[in-house]
């Protein structure tokens, strides 16, 4: 009997937790479908009286959020692609290639992880200003192209590549670049998917740096555009919720689809080390 009570209690707690976690997200979706004014009704409504897509239409026609959406998608894709190449090359080299100072450089990189990104922001902005990269897509991208975390992730994975496989390729006369391209990338594919998911989501969700570096509203990423709309359209709750759904939905879908890889990345970075 006691065990039965435990099971009931446990599931009650799980369900209660899930409800608390989901309510803000479900309300966001529900409110985005409500006719204008309904989300601010007193007492509050949980569901729309009649679902409407007018706010989503307004986002794309009146507010030009489609542009911000494309900016975000394009930037996140480009950063992901470059970061994959740059970090996987470095990660592989730190794991398997010998060069002077390898361990020391790697430890230095790990040490740099405790420096908050904000410390670099002011001079980075001034530097990009000199390079005429402020208020450009490239300016948004540069800080995310190479990451210590990405290098670390690939290195830990690449350590498990057997030396014999690489040596066999070398004996066959393959150059280092060829080995990397046709062997290492293939063997590291699982962790590269993880890295890609992390980088894409990180770039998509990033707020402070794009806010700093972008001045032209036509270049805004979704979070920056949304934050700026949230200032102007405080009263249009339903419209803002539609904007929030548009911002959150792609990353949530990406996560649900690829969560195995995403979780694997946290484990690799956090626990196994």
């Amino acid at each position: 009997m006691r065990r039965r009570a435990e099971v009931v209690l446990l599931h009650a707690a799980l369900v209660a937790g899930a409800v608390l976690v989901l309510v803000p997200l479900l309300w966001m979706v529900s409110a985005s479908l409500m006719p204008a004014g309904e989300a601010t009704a007193v007492p509050p409504r949980l569901l729309p009286s009649a679902a409407t897509l007018e706010h989503y239409r307004a986002l794309f026609t009146r507010l030009d959020l489609a542009r911000a959406f494309l900016n975000s998608a394009g930037l996140a894709a480009a950063v992901t692609l470059i970061a994959l190449v740059v970090n996987s090359m470095a990660g592989y080299a730190f794991a398997k290639l010998r060069f002077a100072g390898r361990e020391r450089i790697f430890r230095l990189l790990l040490a740099a992880l405790v420096i908050p990104a904000q410390v670099a922001m002011l001079p980075l902005f001034l530097m990009l200003r000199e390079l005429h990269l402020v208020n450009t897509y490239a300016g948004v991208m540069v800080p995310g192209l190479a990451s210590v975390f990405g290098i670390f992730l690939v290195r830990q994975y690449a350590l498990s590549i057997p030396e014999s496989v690489l040596d066999a390729a070398r004996i066959d006369g393959a150059g280092e670049l060829r080995i990397y391209r046709s062997l290492v990338l293939y063997l590291c594919a699982p962790i590269l998917v993880t890295l890609a998911v992390f980088t894409f989501m990180g770039t998509w969700n990033d707020f402070m740096w794009p806010l700093v570096v972008l001045a032209d509203a036509r270049l805004y990423t979704l979070p920056v555009a949304l934050a700026s709309l949230a200032g102007e359209h405080v009263q249009d709750v339903e419209l803002m919720m539609a904007g929030a759904v548009l911002t959150v939905l792609p990353v949530v879908l990406l996560f649900v689809g690829l969560q195995r890889h995403y979780i694997a990345g946290i484990m690799a970075g956090g626990v196994k080390g």
Binding site: L10, A13, L14, G17, A18, V21, P24, L25, W27, M28, T40, V42, P43, P44, M89, A90, A93, L97, R98, F99, I105, L110, A111, A112, L113, V114, I115, P116, Q118, V119, A120, M121, L122, P123, L126, M127, A146, E176, L177, Y180, M201, F207, M208, V224, L226, A227, A230, M240, M241, T247, V248, V251, V252, L254, F255, V256, I266, G270, V271, G273
Partner: protein, 313 residues
Amino acid sequence: MTRRRRIDPALCFVAPALGLIGVFFLVPVVASLVLSFTDFDIYAIADARHLRLVGADNYATLLRDPRFCTALRNTLYFVLVGGPLSVAVSLGAALLVSARLARFRGFFRTVFFLPVVTTLVAVAVVWRYLYHPRFGLLNRGLALLGLGPIDWLGDPAWAMPAIILLAVWKNFGFNMIIFVAGLENVPERLYEAARIDGAGAWQQFRHVTLPMLAPTFVFVGVVTMIGYFQLFAEPYVMTQGGPADSTLSVVLLMYEEGFRWWNMGHGAAIAFVLFAIILACTALQLRLRGLKLGEREVATAPVGRRGAEEAGA
């Protein structure tokens, strides 16, 4: 002595990454330190000849600046209350989703993790409405319990708790996953031995689970603290630091000083004070736990530990 002419191919592999990190991160960090000893402002942006070295003036001004002290106090409030709360909720959730009696564990794990991947700005916009004193769902829920209403974001006493609540909701899933992994590493035989000794559920938790999770706590504690010190988007979107500066954070102040008023020297000093505090707190946490733990266990969380030793001690 013969030197090979050919460049080591390994260097070609690391050069792009190291170059990017060096140019766009390490150089700016050093430049930031230099900047913090200058009076770099909007005139210096126009013409660098206006730039003067002012020694530690920026730092001295900060200590006398009541807004900086407020920002520091608010940030410490957020870190010291929000951090432990966040970790506690994560551990609770981890225990629930790893309970052997629980069904649909994968489903609940995914649900609890969902807020982590959402865009902070978007959920901050959503929560701003949830916190609305009149039509917000939160006050509605409190009213059902006979409580409230609370003017969450309009009352200086409640604004920071409101931001902490959002942060806990948004972040607990991340640490939960790390705790779940830590729990899986606890050998089953330890629980068996404890049960044979007559330990109940609470005693098993207290004397087996918690000690075995010690290395996980170090990692989670350090990572959460570093992240929480960088509070920015929540107050930027929800309160703009108000009401009455009650949610003004250090990073928000740095942003305003540096990028709104272009007092870059001043902003850089703020950034460095924050960095120094993060470093000190990281070292302190590791020292406190390290002494208790012993080397082997701590070594399971090498990122934080090595990082701090290298940069700090």
